[in-house]
Symmetry: C2
Subunit: 348 residues, 2 copies
């Protein structure tokens, strides 16, 4: 096999809570799926709440430098009740996305047979959200003056550049073509209220669409999109949107397909200059952490996205198929984290 001898160096950041429980299972599944096609070389990073509480480190230059030398990042989850909200998110998770210029946050949304949707008539749900990952309201730009007085004022600024938007939009059109389904891209924004950012996004859609005569596109306001996600989610093929709308819509979408326990994601550096990062959408779930009962499926599917990113499409598909079979057979049973992983491995 011509791939023997190949290697992918993967920075592993289990992070906090159930992230530490699901990530090792994902590594086991990935290993089994690739066999000896490629060596997965894992480099562990002790980052997250424990490290922060121990020595105050979130993500220092040394860590960044070292992680930046790996080919990819496998992340579990960040967040811990002992650390004030925002510290780990901004200092670790968002810092990784921004430092490694992860332009596209790709979030496939699929209702697997056997999984119970909270919707009465979910239909066939299978779409992907391409969320811009490096700008918008996530830039951190803003200020808060006169704090504690009646004249206090705080601002947040959404930054939208042709550079940032175009690479996300191109990715979305490419993806619609590659998926070979409806071949449609739906841009979601709120152009009637956000005239400047809305116009830039529409300009880029117009421009990029010319290079994809085989892909159609339409536009939806974000509020209308939240409705369709509940009333007609099967209408979507590829959604492209900004960082904040993407955050909100993908959680709603995750709920609609039976819970974010099945929602994987990839934070993609589109030039491969820096590592891309693969992580489940769910958080660290402190309420169930340490019990060994977290569902590792979203993390395992994120592992499949990692393999697909490096061209190991067959290994990725094997994991996908094993997960689908496993879910169809077992979604209603309660199993331990390890049992789920073992059941999936057994089907590979």
């Amino acid at each position: 096999d011509s791939d023997v001898g190949k290697i992918i160096n993967i920075a592993v950041i289990p992070g906090d809570g159930i992230g530490r429980e699901v990530t090792p299972q994902t590594q086991a599944v990935m290993g089994k799926a690739v066999g000896d096609q490629v060596r997965l070389n894992y480099v562990d990073y002790d980052l997250g709440a424990e490290r922060y509480l121990r020595d105050g480190t979130l993500l220092n230059d040394e860590d960044l430098e070292s992680i930046g030398q790996q080919d990819a990042i496998l992340l579990g989850a960040v967040g811990d009740p002992r650390v004030r909200s925002g510290i780990l998110e901004r200092g670790l998770l968002l810092k990784l996305r921004f430092s490694f210029d992860q332009a596209v946050n790709l979030r496939p949304t699929k209702l697997y047979p056997g999984v119970s949707s909270p919707l009465k008539n979910p239909g066939q749900i299978d779409f992907a959200v391409v969320r811009e990952g490096t700008e918008g309201l996530y830039s951190g730009m803003g200020g808060y003056i006169r704090r504690g007085t009646d004249q206090a004022i705080a601002t947040e600024t959404s930054l939208n550049t042709a550079f940032g938007v175009e690479r996300a939009v191109r990715y979305a059109f490419d993806l619609a073509r590659k998926r070979g389904g409806k071949r449609n891209v739906t841009m979601v924004n709120k152009t009637n209220v956000l005239p400047h950012a809305g116009a830039l996004w529409l300009d880029i859609m117009d421009k990029v669409a010319q290079d994809y005569p085989d892909v159609t596109w339409d536009y939806l306001h974000a509020d209308a999109c939240t409705i369709f996600l509940v009333t007609d989610p099967s209408r979507f093929d590829v959604i492209v949107t900004d960082n904040l709308f993407g955050d909100v819509l993908t959680d709603e979408a995750g709920a609609v397909v039976g819970g974010i326990g099945y929602s994987a994601s990839a934070n993609i550096n589109v030039t491969d200059e820096h590592p891309s990062m693969f992580e489940p959408i769910h958080g660290s779930a402190p309420d169930i952490a340490g019990k060994g009962i977290a569902n590792p499926t979203a993390s395992i599917l994120s592992g499949a996205m990692l393999l697909e990113h490096f061209g190991y499409d067959q290994a990725a598909e094997r994991i996908q198929r094993a997960v689908e079979e496993d879910v169809a057979a077992n979604a209603s049973r309660s199993r331990s984290t390890q049992e789920v992983a073992q059941d999936i491995i057994a089907r590979l």
Copy 2:
């Protein structure tokens, strides 16, 4: 009856599409509900797409001045496929909300018995969203430079002031007390990503909560909130949030309670210095406009909110009850706009 001789001057702006069909029905229902308790004096304003296409007027100083002299505004809907998206929204609807300093956009969300929710297990849904109405990302602040070049950049700025946030938050706590239910206010934001605005909102919550020892409060990230709206909407009592999150969440909430055809709203000027405005959440629905089949229920419920605003609680409750009975009896039948209104009037 001591109220005889009283009068409410109401600026009526039917606007576009189905707004023009539902608004007259609401006026009929309101008239019947108040009887001779109070005179409803309607002043019609020809505003919306037709006017704009005819003479280019959206909302001029003269209109504003005149509407400002009325006690309240009853609005149908704005939006027309012949007018570029954003023109009517910003030039008319948002201009009214901002000019009349309508600080609170109140959106009750209730699943009426007989109405079919898209959720399998909706539970008892009955909460209200208090959406800040005059700032946030709706300020219009921002810019778009280098348009058409690879260096294009567009910004939007979210403005959050202690003044604006505090009046919305106080309204929310008052409402939780008045509703007398769970007595809980849930603040929704994205404090882990929006550090400046998030901190200001949290500061104001902390401060205001001290005046309401009988009301509890909690905090939810907007993405988590979109999940709970689908998986556990009955958990909410009063939600308070900013202008953009409020926009998105109330549409999702409307979908969850069976469609925004049942969702009323009030844009409240909390000092009564300017008129408050009452409008259904739904839009002008160009696809069904002119057919006489639009459901007037959301508009009629907005009329009830208007009456309640002026202290005519019993008339408002009569409409509420008539709507509930009507919906329970007829929600699954298809009726004309006029039939629905007649059926409701018959129950008053």
